[in-house]
Amino acid sequence: MSEPLRIQPNLEFVQELQAIGGQDLKKCYQCATCSVVCPLSPMDRSFPRKEMVWAQWGLKDRLVNDIDMWLCHKCGQCSEQCPRGAKPGELMSALRNMAYRNLMGPKFIGEWMSSIKHLPKLIAIPAIIYLLVWFVTGSLQGTPFPLEHGKIEFGLIFPGDYTIDPVFVLVFFFAVYTFIRGIGKLYQGFDTQPKTFVLGYHPPENIWVSLYQVLKEEVVTHKKWKDCGEEEPEDTKFKGHLVLFYSFIALAVVTGIVAFTHWGGKVLPFLHMPYPMALWNPVKILANIGAIGLFVGLIYLTKRRVAPSEKDESSYYDWYLIVLIWVVAVTGMLSQIFRIAEVAGLAYSVYYLHLVSVFMLIAYTPWSKLGHLVYRIAALTYARRHGRLSTEIETDKNKVYVI
C-alpha cells in the first residue's frame, strides 16, 4: 500500500450491530479460525474474519455492501470453534437482519419489523381491514357467522373477488416491486466492492444463466446446506428447511391454480372449478400435502430453535418468521377442519386470523427474514457471475486460479 488509508470508523453503526446480534464482536482477536472452519468460505477474501474486523472498525460501507453475508448459511461452525466466543456467525446474521431492515423503504416498515414492540402495529393493519370487511358483510348477512344451505361458506363474510384477491394481489405486487428495487440496490452495492480476478473460471454468460444455475444446483438441492454439515443439528435444520421450502412451493402452486382457474373461469367457463374443492380433488390433495409438509418442516426447525445452542442463537427475526408460519399453518388447517365440522363461530374466527397472518407473511416479506428467499438467490446469482466461488464448487475445467 503506497498511500496510507485513513479509515473512518462509524461507531454508531458498531453499536447498532452489537444491538441486533453482534454483541460479542469486540471479543474477536483476528485469529482467523472462523474463515478456515467455514465450509462455504471462498479461498480469497474469506469470510467471516474480515467481516469481524470491519465490524470492529465500524466500516459500514464495506459491511452493508458485503455479498458474503448471503453466502453464509449459518451452520455455526465458526461460532462453535471461535476461541474467544466472539460468535462470527451471529454477526453474519446480524448483517442480514440489518439488510432486511435498511435495504428498502418505506423506512417505517423496516423499523417496525425489527422489534417486537412494533408488532401490534403490523398486526393491526390487516386486522382492521378484515374486521371492517367482516363488520360490513356481517351486517348485510344479518349474522357474523352465516350459513348457505346449512354449510359454512367463507365467501359470505370475506368475498374473495372483492375483499381478498384485490388486497392480496396489491400487496403481492407491492412486495414484488420492493424486491425488484431491492435487488437493484443490492447489486449496486456489490458493484462498489473489490472483485477477484479469477483465471480458468468461465462465468455464466449472463445473469439469467447464472440464476438458472443457482436454482438448479443450489436452491433445488439445498446443496450449500449439505456442505454446512450433515450431522446433528445441521441435519435437522437441513431437513426442516427442505421440507418447508417444498411445502411452500406446493402451496404456491395451489394458490396459482386456484387463482388461474377462478379468474380464468370468468373468461373461459371450462376452467372454472367449484369451490370449496372436494377433498379428493388433486389440487386439494396437493394443498393438504403442502400443509402437512409445512407442519413437519416447522416441527423440525422449531425443535432446533428451542434447543439451547451456544453456536446459533435465535434473533427476533428468526422467531417472527417461524411463529408467523406456525400461525398461518395452524389457522389454515383449523379453518378447514372447523368448516367441515360445521362449527361456524370458530371457523369464521380462525379463518379471519388466517387472512391476517397470510397478509403479514406476504406484505412484509421484503423486511422479514423470508426476504432471504429473494436476496440470497440474487446474491448467489451475482456471486456465480463474478466468480465468487465457495471452496466446494467444482467447475467443468476443474482448476480455478484465484489471483
Binding site: Y29, S35, S41, D44, S46, Q81
Partner: protein
C-alpha cells in the same frame, strides 16, 4: 515450631527454592513425584534465556543438593495430606518403592534382557523403555527404577536372582514436620487429544512442541536429529502452529507465555540442522516479551523462516507422503492458504500439573488450575503452579518463595 521447609516438586523452580532455603541453614524436604529430579527442563533440548542444554544449570543444582546435608530429597513421593498451621505442619508423604539398591549400580545389561517394551512417557512416546529404566540424561538420583506392573514371569525370574533388585519392596507413608510449604508442582503439556481439528495427536507427522524438544535433544530418541516420526526422513518444510489449545475458550483460555519463544527456538533447531529447510510459523500474535523480542527479530530475519498471521484451524494427512496439509487464513492478505508440510509442530500450551486434581492442602485454585493465595498460611506457590512462566522467571519465583518461607518459619 518447626524451622523445616517442605518443597513439593523437584523441577527447576522447586530445586531453586529448596537450595536457597537450605543454603541459609534451613532443613528442607524436597518431594518429587517422578523417579528423577529436573522436571520439564530435563526434557528440553535447549532452554531460555541463554539456549543452554539442561545439563548446564541442572547439573550444578544437583551437585549443590548432593553436597548439602540440609536437603532431604524424596523421589517417587507424593504429598497425601497436610494438617496443622503455619510453623507446625504435619505432612503425610507416600513413597513408592524404587525396588533397586541404594548404590548407583549399573543395571543397563539387566534392563536390556527384560521382555516388554513400554512407551516412554519421558520421550512423549516417541520411543520405548524397559520395565527397569533410568530414562533421563544425567539422572539424579543416579539409580535405576523398576516398574513392577510391566513385568512378565520370565522377567521376574531374572530379577529375583539379582542382588540389587528388591521385587517385594513396600510402599510406605512417612510424616514430615515442617513450618512452611512451597508448592512447585509445575505444568504438563495440554493434552493434544482435545485438539480434534489439529489431528488430536493421531497423525504421525503432526507432533507437539515438547516432542520436538525430544527429537532435537542429543539424549532423545533420534540422538538429536530432527526427523519425521513416520519415516525418519529429514523434513524440508516445517510448520509451527501457535496457540494450539491456548488463548482458546474451548481449551486453555490463557496465553501460555512461552510457546511463541519455543517455536522460534525450534525454528532455529530446524534451520541449523537443515540449511535448505523452510519454516512457517502460523500465529495469532507473536508474543515475545521483553528482551525476547531481540531473539524473535534474529530468527525472523532468516528469509527461510516465514511468519503468517492466522491460526491453523484444520490439518489433514497427505495419504501419499504422510505430509500434513495445513489450512489457515493469512489474515493480513485475507486469503486462505492450503499448504503441505513434511512436519507440523503444535505449540501446545502449559496446563498446571494440579489442574483437575484434589489438593491435599488448604490453598486456593482458580478455574484453570493455577494456585492462588496461601501466603497467610505459610504456603507459597512457585513457577508454573501459579502462572505460565519461563525457566528464568520460575527460578526467580523459587527464590522469592524461599525467602517468604524463611520469614514464615523464623518470624521477621
Amino acid at each position: 515450631m518447626s524451622q523445616s521447609i517442605l518443597v513439593i516438586g523437584g523441577g527447576f523452580g522447586g530445586i531453586t527454592a529448596a537450595l536457597e532455603a537450605a543454603e541459609v541453614g534451613h532443613e528442607v524436604y524436597l518431594v518429587e513425584k517422578n523417579p528423577y529430579l529436573g522436571g520439564r527442563v530435563m526434557q528440553l533440548n535447549k532452554y531460555f534465556p541463554k539456549l543452554c542444554p539442561p545439563s548446564c544449570g541442572l547439573e550444578i543444582q544437583f551437585q549443590r543438593i548432593k553436597r548439602n546435608p540440609k536437603i532431604t530429597c524424596l523421589t517417587l513421593a507424593e504429598v497425601m495430606s497436610v494438617s496443622g498451621q503455619p510453623g507446625n505442619y504435619e505432612v503425610a508423604v507416600r513413597i513408592k518403592p524404587r525396588c533397586t539398591d541404594q548404590s548407583s549400580v549399573d543395571l543397563s545389561k539387566l534392563a536390556a534382557e527384560l521382555s516388554r517394551d513400554i512407551p516412554n512417557a519421558f520421550e512423549f512416546e516417541l520411543s520405548t523403555r524397559k520395565a527397569l529404566y533410568m530414562d533421563v540424561p544425567f539422572a539424579f538420583p543416579q539409580r535405576y527404577t523398576l516398574d513392577r506392573d510391566n513385568l512378565d514371569e520370565s522377567d521376574r525370574r531374572k530379577l529375583t536372582k539379582h542382588e540389587a533388585i528388591d521385587l517385594d519392596a513396600k510402599e510406605k507413608t512417612i510424616t514430615l514436620n515442617c513450618g512452611s510449604i512451597i508448592v512447585a508442582t509445575g505444568w504438563k503439556p495440554y493434552d493434544v487429544a482435545n485438539l480434534t481439528n489439529l489431528g488430536a495427536g493421531r497423525l504421525a507427522n503432526c507432533i507437539t512442541n515438547m516432542q520436538m524438544e525430544r527429537l532435537a535433544a542429543p539424549s532423545g530418541p533420534t540422538a538429536g536429529s530432527i526427523t519425521r516420526p513416520s519415516d525418519n526422513r529429514p523434513p524440508r518444510k516445517v510448520a509451527f502452529v501457535q496457540c494450539a489449545g491456548s488463548r482458546d475458550e474451548n481449551h486453555l483460555p490463557y496465553c501460555s507465555y512461552i510457546c511463541c519463544m519455543a517455536s522460534l527456538k525450534q525454528a532455529q533447531y530446524v534451520r541449523e540442522q537443515y540449511p535448505e529447510s523452510e519454516v512457517t510459523i502460523f500465529y495469532i500474535d507473536l508474543r515475545t516479551p521483553g528482551r525476547y523480542e531481540n531473539f524473535s527479530k534474529k530468527i525472523l530475519a532468516d528469509e527461510k523462516v516465514k511468519a503468517v498471521k492466522g491460526k491453523v484451524a484444520a490439518v489433514q494427512e497427505d495419504l501419499a507422503s504422510q505430509g500434513i496439509w495445513v489450512t489457515a487464513e493469512d489474515a493480513v492478505a485475507g486469503n486462505k492458504l492450503v499448504e503441505c508440510f513434511d512436519l507440523v509442530v503444535l505449540a501446545t500450551g502449559m496446563q498446571p500439573s494440579l489442574s483437575g486434581l484434589p489438593l491435599p492442602m488448604d490453598v486456593g485454585m482458580d478455574e484453570n488450575g493455577f494456585l492462588t493465595g496461601g501466603e497467610e498460611r505459610g504456603i507459597f506457590s512457585v513457577g508454573c503452579a501459579k502462572e505460565p512462566l519461563d525457566v528464568m522467571k520460575s527460578a526467580q519465583s523459587g527464590t522469592s518463595a524461599a525467602m517468604q518461607a524463611i520469614q514464615t518459619v523464623r518470624g521477621r
